[in-house]
């Protein structure tokens, strides 16, 4: 096998690793100052406000283009989620009923194995 000290690929990978560490550590030092926090939060506050306004504008634009807006899509997703939720509730009820009556329902968690397992060390086997 080639010596790592002569291997340009290994040297390249090592250099990238070292650069990553160095840059991260330098940036972390810079970001731990109160000045950084001040500037970041000023910029962040402006960006968040602008994003919200842009979102509202887009919403109006989509409505005028007779396209479903994000709110409408979310509404549809919610209705689907609520239907899914109700189906899950029904499924859970059926599973419970199946368990109580001993009739398997849909192949799901109906026949649970016995809760008798002991840890290997307690059985004298390897742990």
């Amino acid at each position: 096998m080639a010596d790592k000290s002569n291997d340009p690929v290994a040297m390249w990978q090592n250099m990238i690793g070292e650069m990553e560490k160095g840059f991260n550590s330098f940036a972390n030092q810079a970001m731990s100052s109160p000045e950084f926090s001040k500037v970041m939060n000023q910029v962040g506050g402006v960006t968040a406000g602008a994003q919200k306004q842009l979102g509202e504008m887009m919403e109006k634009y989509l409505v005028s283009m007779n396209l479903p807006s994000r709110v409408q899509m979310i509404g549809m997703a919610e209705r689907l989620q609520s239907i899914e939720g109700q189906l899950n509730e029904i499924k859970a009820m059926l599973t419970q009923m199946g368990k109580a009556s001993g009739v398997p329902v849909g192949g799901a968690s109906t026949s649970m194995p016995p809760r008798t397992k002991r840890p290997p060390s307690a059985e004298g086997g390897p742990k």
């Binding site: 970001m31 926090s37 899914e84 307690a122």
Partner: protein
Amino acid sequence: MNAPAPAALDFASISDRVQSEVQRAIQRSIKGVEYFNSSGPALGSTPKDVLASRGTMQLYHYRPMADEIYRVPILIVMATTNRGYILDMVSGQSFIEFLLKRGYDVYMLDWTAPKPEEKNLRMEDYVLDFIPDSVRRVQEDSGVEDVTVIGYCFGGVLSLLYGSIHHDGPMKNLICFTTPIDFREMKLFSNFSDRRYFDVDRLIDSVGNMPPELILQSFDMLRPASRAVGQIQLWDNIWNDEFVKSYRMFDRWANDILPLAGEYFRTTTKDLMWDNKLFNDTMTVGGKAAQLEKIKVPILHAVAEHDHIVPYDAAKHLIKKVGSTDKEEVILKGGHVSLVAGPNAIRRLWPKLDSWLGGRSI
């Protein structure tokens, strides 16, 4: 003492190396095209049933994979910023599958993105409603009174809050992975949310829920060079199918950040980041005191040696502060994610957890 002589140039090995690099370069071009034309592996596919789905809360029950299971079921509480499939990647690299094969009965409390009208969800909803409701459903479904709770990252914080308030049961064991309790020690997050400059009220009042992009950005800022280096490493290794598969799994998960409910984020910032109330024993949730010393159940805290998100200093006081007599902290090699998923976790955390929990699950 003589310095070692520099290694002599071995022309045969250089020629092999050049040949291998040329082959890799060709493979990179072919696989690079494949990469953009294919989707990543299917994640979170261990068979499961949805036991309950209510707003942002999803409770799953995984189907058993052993002929005999331990008496005490496990409820995993996921971090509210991340998807639960980090613990259920692909077969052979799934923590859930590992637990099932070792004979545990596993449930998971996972989260979906809170909807705009769920912006009013508070810490109380998580600690005094979602978790207790899930525990009750696990008890009902399993027919067992005792439940082991496992919390990952902020899921660990929620589990601790739940455990300290519901200290009279039914939690039998508590396992926390990389759980912060001293928020002053999360130095960069602490600086980003400095109360002199970070107006959390203004932000939440204007956006409703905390946008996932901002959360992702703050995670990225902890290691600003790592994303670019990750891309370089991907290109370097794109000939290697296993590397690419693993990269895609973790990259997808790391970018799949959930928004946080506005009120919940406001409380997290004020009570935990600013006032460090969990560490100072002054935390209350819905008017109920949440003091760690009230937790008396057996507890295991697994922390990562190189965790850049939850540094050891932020997590190290947990074991000292809980009231349990049966308690253990285990420091393992790895980072915040590699502690729980991937080859490092398979070798280190998973077997440790199994050996700790088995005897306490009967």
